[in-house]
């Protein structure tokens, strides 16, 4: 991959024209293919080899309708324009990707690209679809009228890659067309696409049938709410058996290690530190994979665009808009790509508001903590109750975001007029199983890698801090009958730091153990469960007991249960709101280009999280007492 790049081809075109599909065909890459206008949020780069052996760099630009009105440098248009300018000076080809069934509007962009004087190739995609619609495209006629090379392709055609490489090399050799031709886009499109009629447009017929239900004034919103509920509940339902198996596996391993190595420091490090920390987080792998795949299905099928249609009015009411829906939904997997996806929001004020409230959506890194708390304090309840609790936590995040947006309201304004919704509604497509499988695999391996590196290291560091005695920790009162290693932990450095914070956190029901967890998860909330896993792993007498059980059975120094339902609720509320994620803050900084707004996100989320956690704990302790 490091061969010197001899030529660069930039794929440019309207949103949803099929750029990502061609990018994958060229590079063999795995860019996820969206069926939502504007889903390639930043330029994606890949590399391949030309027929003569030279290296070709392929750049997939965000989808744009026009480059002329690219006033906002943070918009997709602004990003695309900068990328195109940057290509000047080195050998390159602009390849405009055009949907054959949408030729006329695409030719406006062709005109703009021709005026730039860069070598241009027109790749007409969806040619098979055009044919099934009963139309034919006059490729030589179009090429002649535009004065550029035109190649018509279908995503599934064999030899697609070679055909594209050939055309790209040709244009690179010939250079930009000599004379800029003038043409009327609508008239030219009408001339080169001949409709022979007769054949029914099956794709459109299917879209019409689906839209009749999914966009129905009454059924549409009901189906939408139903789907969202099923999505969030499925995170709990579908994933539970797999989680249980992983849990049993790690506990078996712990038992095995203890039996082989015998008691001692090393055993404690491996069992309590590594397995207790990282192993406990690993249980949540299936939940995260399920969530990511389902979100991708919604997008790739074309339903995502329909959602914006359904919720635009509602989101406008809270100061957001239909286009905010995409990042808001994406944020349920992870806030970082969601913050980047706000580039599709054309109104700067709305974009900023969306960025500021995105960290409140329930990202997959919160799932382990929620799963643990539900298992620990509502474990005896039915599966329906537990899944309802999961849905409620998701709804809590959404309501918090809406509330924050309402409060931020007119206080967050940026230059730029209000831009009403204009959004393409693409035809529904059947998501490709292969792409989904790859995504699931990528998500899983990234998560395992994360657990295997960051969380293992953090768990080991924490285990160490829980074993280093704190100066002056010797007189800490420890529950009677505690083993030597529990006494050591209570008198450790980490415990003393957690205990120092107790006056502040006691009103929210957090003791020193939870405080240590919260400090450990400041930069990445997924560390919470790992951290608690280490603490309770050391404290637990029985290596086989799951973390949830240990959490429930922990006693205070006086022997009373350390945590109850009010603590669980208070901790859940804290986790809904606090922005415990360095990557998110880095993304906020990058996209707002402001430390002030980044600091604002930290301040408001932690302030609100603490305030509400105290409120919930105090109310909960009184009502449930």
């Amino acid at each position: 991959m490091s061969a010197e790049v001899a030529l660069t081809v930039a794929l440019v075109g309207r949103p949803n024209a099929g750029k990502s599909t061609l990018f994958n065909a060229l590079t063999g890459g795995t860019v996820k293919v969206g069926n939502f206008p504007g889903i390639t949020v930043e330029a994606v780069t890949g590399q391949t080899t030309l027929e003569d052996g030279r290296a070709l760099r392929v750049v997939d630009l965000p989808g744009v309708y026009s480059l002329v009105g690219a006033g906002d440098p943070d918009s997709d248009e602004g990003h695309a324009l900068r990328s195109l300018d940057a290509l000047k000076g080195s050998p390159h080809v602009l390849a405009q990707v055009v949907d054959a069934t949408q030729l006329a509007p695409a030719l406006r962009l062709t005109k703009e690209l021709l005026a730039r004087g860069q070598p241009l190739l027109l790749i007409v995609t969806q040619h098979d679809l055009l044919v099934t619609q009963g139309s034919t495209l006059d490729v030589p006629g179009l090429s002649e009228a535009l004065g550029v090379q035109v190649v018509a392709v279908s995503a599934k055609e064999p030899g697609l890659r070679v055909k594209l490489l050939h055309a790209i090399a040709d244009v690179a050799r010939l250079g930009p067309s000599a004379a800029v031709r003038t043409f009327d886009d609508a008239a030219l499109a009408a001339r080169v696409v001949r409709h022979d009629g007769g054949l029914k447009d099956r794709l459109r017929a299917r879209t019409e049938r689906l839209d009749a239900v999914l966009l129905h004034p009454l059924l549409g919103p009901l189906v939408f709410l139903g789907l969202m509920t099923v999505l969030f509940a499925s995170v709990f339902f579908v994933a539970e058996p797999v989680s249980a198996a992983i849990d049993a596996g790690t506990r078996f391993l712990a038992q095995h290690l203890e039996a082989t190595l015998g008691p001692g420091r090393l055993t404690s490090l491996l069992v309590d530190g590594v397995l207790g920390g990282a192993g406990t987080v690993l249980i949540f792998l299936p939940q995260i994979v399920v969530l990511t795949v389902v979100l991708e299905l919604i997008e790739a099928s074309g339903y995502l665009a329909r959602c914006t249609f359904l919720v635009d009015r509602l989101l406008r009411f809270v100061g957001l808009g239909g286009r905010s829906f995409v990042p808001l939904l994406t944020a349920h997997a992870c806030a970082v790509p969601a913050i980047q996806a706000t580039r599709i929001i054309r109104e700067p004020g709305q974009r900023l508001r969306t960025i500021l409230v995105l960290p409140l959506m329930t990202c997959s890194a919160r799932i382990p903590t929620y799963g643990l708390l539900i298992a620990a304090f509502f474990g005896a309840r039915s599966a329906w109750f537990k899944s309802a609790a999961f849905v409620a936590l998701y709804v809590g995040g959404i309501l918090a975001a809406f509330g924050a947006s309402l409060v931020l309201g007119s206080r967050v304004k940026r230059a730029g007029a209000s831009k009403p919704l204009v959004l393409e509604l693409p035809h529904y497509r059947r998501p490709q199983a292969r792409v989904m499988a790859r995504l699931a695999w990528r998500t899983a391996s990234r998560f395992v890698k994360d657990v295997g590196s960051v969380i293992v290291v953090a768990s080991v560091v924490l285990w160490t801090l829980l074993n280093v005695p704190s100066p002056g920790g010797g007189d800490v009162v420890v529950p009677e009958g505690s083993s030597e290693k529990v006494v050591a932990m209570h008198r450790s450095l980490a415990a003393s730091v957690g205990r120092a914070l107790e006056p502040l956190t006691q009103p929210a029901g957090f003791d020193w153990r939870i405080n240590v967890g919260l400090i450990g998860s400041f930069g990445a909330r997924e560390l919470m469960v790992g951290t608690l896993g280490v603490i309770f792993g050391i404290e637990g007498e029985d290596a086989e007991a799951p973390l949830a059980e240990r959490l429930r059975e922990t006693k205070t120094a006086s022997g009373a249960p350390a945590y109850g339902v009010p603590t669980a609720l208070s901790l859940m509320v804290f986790f809904i709101i606090a922005c415990q994620c360095m990557s998110t803050l880095a993304a906020v900084r990058r996209e707002t280009r402001s430390w002030r707004w980044t600091g604002f996100v930290v301040a408001y989320t932690y302030g609100l999280a603490y305030g509400l956690a105290v409120l919930v704990f105090q109310l909960g302790s009184r009502l449930l007492a």
């Binding site: 459109r204 839209d211 393409e424």
Partner: protein
């Protein structure tokens, strides 16, 4: 820069569902009108309102080019059409 709307012209927001009409003029500022044209809503294109979202939400349009769009109702009120 907005073009004054003539009271006689019908606008897209009041167009009957299922009835085709032709886009006559975009009574918007130049930048916004150019954006709409770039998306595909140009003068001369035929447009049909497929449905309206509830509670004053956006319109679902189909253009004669086959393109389907969700367009805010207030914006549709600035698009003049003739039957």
């Amino acid at each position: 820069m907005s073009v004054p709307m003539t009271s006689s012209a019908a606008t897209l927001d009041v167009l009957e569902v299922g009835r085709a009409a032709q886009v006559k003029a975009l009574a918007l500022d130049a930048v916004e009108a150019d954006w709409l044209r770039a998306v595909g809503l140009v003068e001369g294109v035929a447009v049909t309102v497929l449905r309206r979202a509830a509670f004053g939400g956006p319109l679902h349009l189909r253009l004669s080019t086959g393109l389907e769009l969700a367009v805010d109702r207030a914006l549709a009120a600035r698009v003049e059409v003739s039957p």
